[in-house]
Assembly symmetry: C2
Homo-oligomer: 326 residues x 2
């Protein structure tokens, strides 16, 4: 029984409110942070890990300040924080809280997965859902790896259902080598389609009468044909689509991820937004100290790109938009 607003409802409210499915990844990479920000962190901390962690906090929170009026959600990548040990972990927790307070949905990209009561421990720790204080890490949703089997997804679903949280199961990842195992075929159907089938069953079972359930799927923008196929195979699963931008996926490539109304999917960009100030065309337009303006310009460009090339454009033509014109 659900005690909180369902994840899919919360997700779509956020998407409709910001009129875009653009998801900003938070991928702090120390060597790419703005120099002034790193120098300031060195003044605050003596220890290396504490310096990095402090710089990550400032960087991510300033990105959040820029993007929270523009997008519905952010996706911190746990690996970059964990690399710096317990200090990095503390920063991850801080950044998630900060994003929640700024009104953003937070999808923690930690790709967890384990068996039984171990999976339960991850679920209880990460999945806060509608009340950020319901779990110590405070996330709205978590990415989850399906290799261990269907029964290992269930503890995540149980916790998510109670709290109005969601999970995104890896179905088709965006890397080149995704084919090694995900494409192994049985009865002419690749493994990722078997995973998709389970995901959609679990999405239906958790939809509570709505169109979408709390179990979603990660499907890379770098495999556009399969994205269309998987949208059809999982009509009840919210999609998380990585691979747009730096990884080579275009807005046209992700068009099939959406319903005609522009719902049902979030499209992620991380590096292309976080470090826009280091790359063309933004490096020419903004000085390094104007990195936040570059973040804003890159985010706006992505939003427009998705609106022009995908059904996400229909989010802008909705009733909210017309009433605002009156």
């Amino acid at each position: 029984m659900s005690h909180s607003p369902q994840y899919a409802v919360r997700l779509h409210d956020a998407i409709r409110r910001s009129e875009t499915p653009a998801l900003v990844g938070l991928d702090p990479r120390f060597e790419q942070l703005p120099d002034t920000l790193v120098r300031a962190a060195r003044c605050r901390q003596l220890d290396e890990a504490a310096t990095v962690a402090s710089a990550f906090e400032e960087f991510c929170c300033r990105v959040i300040d820029v993007v929270s009026p523009l997008v519905p959600a952010v996706k911190p990548q746990a690996a970059f924080f964990e690399e710096w040990g317990p200090d990095g972990c503390r920063s991850l927790g801080h950044v998630i809280r900060y994003a929640r307070r700024a009104g953003l949905l937070v999808i923690c990209d930690a790709k967890r997965g384990d068996i039984g009561s171990t999976a339960e421990a991850y679920a209880r720790g990460y999945l806060a859902g509608s009340d950020p204080d319901a779990a110590i890490w405070g996330a709205d949703a978590l990415t989850v790896n399906p290799y261990l089997g269907r029964d290992t997804l269930e503890p995540f679903i149980d916790v998510a259902r109670q709290r109005g949280a969601g999970i995104y199961v890896l179905v088709r990842t965006s890397n080149r080598g995704a084919r090694t195992f995900q494409d192994i075929r049985s009865d002419s159907q690749p493994l990722y389609r078997y995973v998709a089938q389970v995901v959609d069953e679990l999405a239906v079972a958790t939809a509570g009468g709505g169109d979408f359930g709390l179990v979603g799927a990660v499907v890379g923008a770098t495999y556009p044909k399969e994205l269309a196929e998987l949208r059809n195979a999982m009509p009840h699963a919210p999609l998380l689509v990585p691979g747009y931008g730096s990884q080579g996926g275009t807005a046209a490539d992700v068009a099939d991820a959406f319903t005609p109304q522009g719902l049902g999917a979030l499209v992620n960009s991380s590096r292309g937004i976080n470090f826009a100030f280091r790359h063309k065309p933004y490096a020419d337009r903004f000085a390094p100290d104007e990195w936040e303006q570059a973040v804003e310009a890159a985010t706006r460009r992505m939003i427009d790109d998705l609106a022009e090339q995908t059904p996400a454009g229909n989010l802008r033509a909705g009733p909210e938009c017309s009433s605002r014109l009156l």
Copy 2:
């Protein structure tokens, strides 16, 4: 090029020295900790997460004190620490360091997996190898999930090779639902055999002339027939065998994991050792405050069981043992 003693060499040195392949899992579950230990932690900390984290540290370090003269390695389960947020993460780091100082190999059971530079971040953070200070988390080895593909294992292998660390790739997990995806068959071969094939190729490529490489495999004791099959399919991969004890696997079930000399595998028990004082036969023999004696008795029982029922018994008949008898 390897700059440090290879993982397989370090692993087998440790197994030969302790004359057993018994691996003690560190699975701190707050509600099962000894009461006196929890009460003491409440005196030290006011905040709940800090209390739990402090109790975990004391519990795990005392388990380490008991088992370090007996076994070659411990396996902390990251989920139980992470559940308690940044405080829990700090305890995990502390426990790993403490175990390393006690002379144990540490396999961090975090089942990580991600693409490209993200996988690299996990690898750099966790895999310390022979020098505990080479990575912030200080582990000798890490469990890794293969679903994302072969290319996502490579960043882990590159870092592990440089540092004398190892990885254990999930091949056949010990849970009931392991079959959902791991048994999907293509050309009459199940997925887990495809993963095993890649694991053995990577193990051969990293063996540096030795019998075993730095890439190992997780294969559950709860599927004994498949354990034998997988030992043959991956002759160069060190095995990590969960599922002994509480999960139902017996010593006879894991006998096929070993070479005739009793090498090539570690067999894990977590709950059965950690919380021995709560269960038969130890609950009858030891008072709750004698929980460490229960840990010792359960560990010795497992060691004897493996020596009696598996080729691990041959570790005791080695030259070290005979020379000690002189």
